[in-house]
């Protein structure tokens, strides 16, 4: 029993939160797209480095593979933390401008949305155990922790894919919620997925981890305890993996476009061609750059740009999916709230910039130094600024808070 477009349009309108949004919708759309890029890149690094870690473990008779397996196990562990925390922002902004789509999709598969949390905990914990056990003399059985961890992470990726995809198909929601008129409130089913789209993101993990390996080799080049041979080995693996990945991406992307509803004419969209051309260009760059040890972080920049183009493409698709239902974020009720808007942007610049900058600089510098790193004058100043900005932030928070609270309480 499908709903007609008019009913769906009305439903989507009334499901929007009546409080409206505190800034222009484009601001949230921009932030959603931008923050999703960092999230998906860490998803890719996690899945890719976990795959390399497990493959390396199977070839650990070779000391380079063994070392790489251990390194990638650690990289995947850290990367999961990052993908989770970086996933919070796009999740938040999605809920701001696409709340009806996201909430309905989640409720219709609620048991899976909740299962996502527990399987992620299980998967991450299993990977942590693999991390502790993946040592040079580890027995072969420990790899099962890794396989289980990766399997759970892949399942979670699939659940997220389904929740996103279902949100684009409001015309089918009633069929899923009340098949043949019988209401099913169990949320126990995953209702729709698009394999081509899911596999595209899996292929992207192959590319991104290849690029990550190239950057990894470049980063450790200056460390005395990392031999040149090992760096070249890692770079070589990265070259091959990235090339295979981008080819897989081009193939799955083509499948995805062919898999799209015909009336959306996705293959005529300029964004489709821009992304396609970029990936072909990137493939050529990777092919001709094989073995070139001077590339540094150039390919990493290309991967970030690719992530950004994919994020925009994904949003273009969503806008197109919603066109028949007259759902556009541009008519979301705006109830401007300047103080809280300032709070966010100042926090992003001040705390994100100085505190985040200090932490990352300290990690970067210390990571490239054998033994103890003593802060340079600049890094020491950055550290002082980070302390100062935190004290200032908390002081302003309490001053505003006490003033507002007293105004209400007295």
């Amino acid at each position: 029993m499908e709903m007609d477009s008019h009913s769906i349009a009305t439903t989507l309108q009334v499901l929007r939160d009546p409080a409206g949004i505190p800034a222009h919708p484009v601001v949230f759309q921009f932030l959603m797209v931008l923050t999703w890029v960092s999230h998906i890149l860490f998803v890719n690094i996690t899945l890719g480095s976990a795959g390399i870690a497990l493959y390396g473990f199977s070839k650990r008779d070779n000391p380079f593979w063994q070392r790489l397996s251990i390194g990638m196990t650690k990289a995947a562990k850290v990367s999961v933390s990052m993908l989770i925390v970086l996933g919070v922002a796009p999740l938040l902004f999605t809920q701001v401008i696409y709340d009806p789509l996201w909430y309905v999709s989640n409720i219709l598969s609620a048991s899976w949305a909740i299962g996502f949390i527990f399987t992620l905990i299980l998967g991450y914990s299993a990977w942590f155990i693999f991390y502790y056990k993946n040592k040079p003399n580890a027995g072969g059985g420990v790899v099962w922790w890794g396989y289980f961890g990766l399997a759970m992470l892949l399942l979670d990726g699939f659940i997220m894919h389904v929740l996103s995809y279902q949100s684009l198909l409001p015309e089918q929601w009633m069929d899923w919620y009340a098949p043949n008129g019988q209401v099913d409130m169990s949320g126990s089913a995953l209702h729709a997925w698009q394999l081509s789209r899911f596999l595209f993101f899996m292929a992207m993990s192959v590319t991104v981890v290849g690029i990550f390996l190239q950057a990894y080799a470049h980063y450790y080049k200056v460390r005395e305890d990392y031999s040149l041979e090992y760096s070249l080995f890692v770079k070589g693996v990265g070259d091959k993996v990235a090339l295979v990945g981008i080819i897989l991406q081009i193939l799955t992307f083509t499948w995805w476009i062919l898999d799209m509803p015909h009336d959306m004419l996705t293959w005529l969209n300029p964004m489709t061609w821009l992304l396609f051309a970029f990936m072909v260009g990137f493939a050529a760059m990777l092919f001709y750059g094989k073995g070139d040890t001077k590339t540094g972080y150039k390919t990493l920049m290309m991967a970030i740009i690719m992530g950004l183009l994919i994020a925009i493409f994904r949003e273009v698709l969503r806008v197109q999916y919603m066109l028949p239902f007259d759902y556009t974020i541009m008519d979301y009720k705006v109830m401007e709230d300047i103080p809280s808007t300032i709070l966010f942007f100042l926090t992003l610049l001040g705390v994100g910039g100085l505190v985040g900058g200090f932490f990352l600089t300290a990690l970067y510098k210390a990571g490239r130094t054998k033994g103890m790193y003593t802060a340079s004058l600049q890094v020491a100043k950055l550290a002082d600024s980070a302390v100062a900005v935190m004290i200032a932030w908390i002081a302003v928070f309490f001053l505003v808070g006490i003033w507002t609270w007293l105004r209400h309480a007295l």
Binding site: T10, V85, I117, I121, V351, L363, M372, W405
Partner: protein, 467 residues
């Protein structure tokens, strides 16, 4: 005016209800997140001592606790954080939507802190001994302040869930008025106190494994003092907190909470004070199993009832005393141009206005009127009541097993229609839907009675057969 209400589909969890799913994830998150914030302050204080008194051996403990936190707080805590969002999304979409649309920038600012916090914890743990001590100390203090900032930001939102405390926000719609509500500072004090106590208890799990006896004694005493300070501060803050609660919360606390909750919480409080006093007096008595046990007691017998009570006393609202737990908007909020849903419910009912009612139920017949009643009952009541005979505030028990449709209908059309029960939402169903819901609720007790008699019958037969 649109003739459709902004109601989402329902997710029904038999017996425990979606509220318990939310509560379980919430409790796990509170335990791990408060431990993490409390531990960040412990690290900053201990490291200051280590640098000032030239005691690098204390850093070994910080490293140990930090690695432990990476698993305990930064796996479980960081996953259950978004996990709460997922849980409230599927259990109470209108509630979370209301919070997000009021506080999106606050949450976004908190996300900035989450991100630097996750980078910070790795930096803190892995850079011990790899950067100069002075720089590391600055890093640890920045990390502690940033961690606490995440608490500062979330507490305003949690407090608003209880109530704004006055009329300002309803009139202005300003995020600051909502955030710095009457409940805010007392709630912040309570959680800050708790973070010291729980970090002290969890810290014992690692302190008890320290090989150097002098260091072990010093750290255990430090933890005990911090824990005791947290407990006593918490008691003062609790007294203040109670004064900042709305009337409905006070009534629920006095009349509706299970009887075991208050004595259990007092017992946990007493046990925690004794635990910290003992470990301060005889630090070497502290064994790892003892610290684990204390942590488990605080989590299971302290935190779970406390979180459950906090969820319960907010009823019938989930946010700002304007969103009911059944998704209905209960009042006008002029500052946000929000209008109450209740007039439309009274005029047209749920079946005609809920966007997710199948046609078969919109035009119900004698054959499926029970299903129509079930739909309305679950949409309006299942967020707080189990439709089974056990579990979360079971409807059958609340109605004392009544199978009298007229009697149930009288309640639906009387106290519930007019919102006369302080801890229940006002649900002004039109007469025909009162009838449908009453028939359905009566059928639950009938089923129950039949099941009981059938069960009794079969038990009887088995018993006879055995003789």
């Amino acid at each position: 005016m649109l003739e459709t209400l902004g109601l989402y589909p329902s997710w029904y969890v038999p017996v425990i209800g979606s509220a318990w799913v939310m509560g379980i994830i919430g409790t796990i998150h509170v335990l791990s997140s408060h431990t993490s914030v409390g531990a960040s302050w412990l690290f900053a204080l201990l490291e200051t001592k280590a640098v000032r008194e030239n005691k690098p051996e204390l850093m070994e403990y910080i490293k140990k606790y930090g690695v432990f936190l990476l698993v305990f707080s930064y796996i479980i805590g960081s996953i259950t954080g978004p996990g709460i969002w997922y849980a409230i999304t599927v259990a109470s979409p209108k509630g979370v939507g209301g919070l997000i649309h009021n506080f999106v920038w606050v949450w976004a600012a908190e996300w900035v802190y989450f991100t630097v916090e996750v980078i910070g914890v790795y930096a803190l743990v892995y850079l011990i001994g790899k950067v100069d001590p002075k720089t590391h100390l600055k890093l640890t203090w920045v990390f502690a302040l940033a961690s606490w900032a995440t608490m500062l930001l979330i507490v305003g939102i949690l407090s608003f869930m209880m109530w704004p405390g006055n009329d300002s926000w309803y009139q202005t719609g300003s995020t600051m008025d909502a955030f710095f509500n009457l409940n805010f500072f007392a709630h912040l004090g309570l959680r800050t106190a708790f973070m010291f106590a729980i970090a002290g208890a969890v810290g014992g799990i690692l302190a008890s494994t320290m090989k150097n006896e002098a260091v072990r004694i010093e750290i255990t005493r430090f933890l005990s003092k911090m824990g005791l300070a947290g407990v006593f501060l918490g008691m003062i803050m609790w007294m203040w907190y109670i004064q900042t609660l709305p009337e409905n919360a006070k009534i629920i606390m006095q009349t509706q909470l299970p009887g075991y909750i208050a004595p259990t919480l007092f017992a946990v409080l007493g046990a925690t004070i004794l635990y910290f006093a003992l470990t301060a007096w005889k630090p070497l008595y502290l064994k790892q199993s003892f610290a684990w046990a204390m942590t488990a007691v605080i989590a299971i017998a302290g935190l779970w009832p406390e979180e459950r009570s906090r969820e319960s006393i907010r009823k019938p609202y989930v946010a700002g005393q304007y969103v009911y737990s059944n998704q209905l908007i209960s009042r006008d909020v002029p500052g946000k141009q929000i209008e109450s849903n209740l007039p439309m419910v009274a005029q047209k009912g749920i079946l005609a206005t809920h966007p997710f009612v199948p046609e078969e139920l919109k035009n119900y017949t004698d054959a499926n009127r029970l299903q129509a009643g079930e739909f309305v009952a679950k949409a309006m009541c299942a967020n707080c009541h189990s439709m089974e005979d056990t579990g979360l505030r079971p409807m059958v028990k609340k109605l004392h097993g009544s199978t009298d449709v007229a009697q149930i209908k009288a309640y639906l059309g009387g106290a519930l229609y007019h919102g006369l029960v302080p801890y229940m939402p006002r649900i002004p169903l039109p007469e025909h839907e009162q009838q449908l819901v009453a028939e359905y609720l009566a059928s639950l007790s009938k089923e129950n009675t039949q099941t009981a008699s059938t069960k009794f019958g079969s038990d009887y037969i088995v018993a006879k057969g055995e003789q």
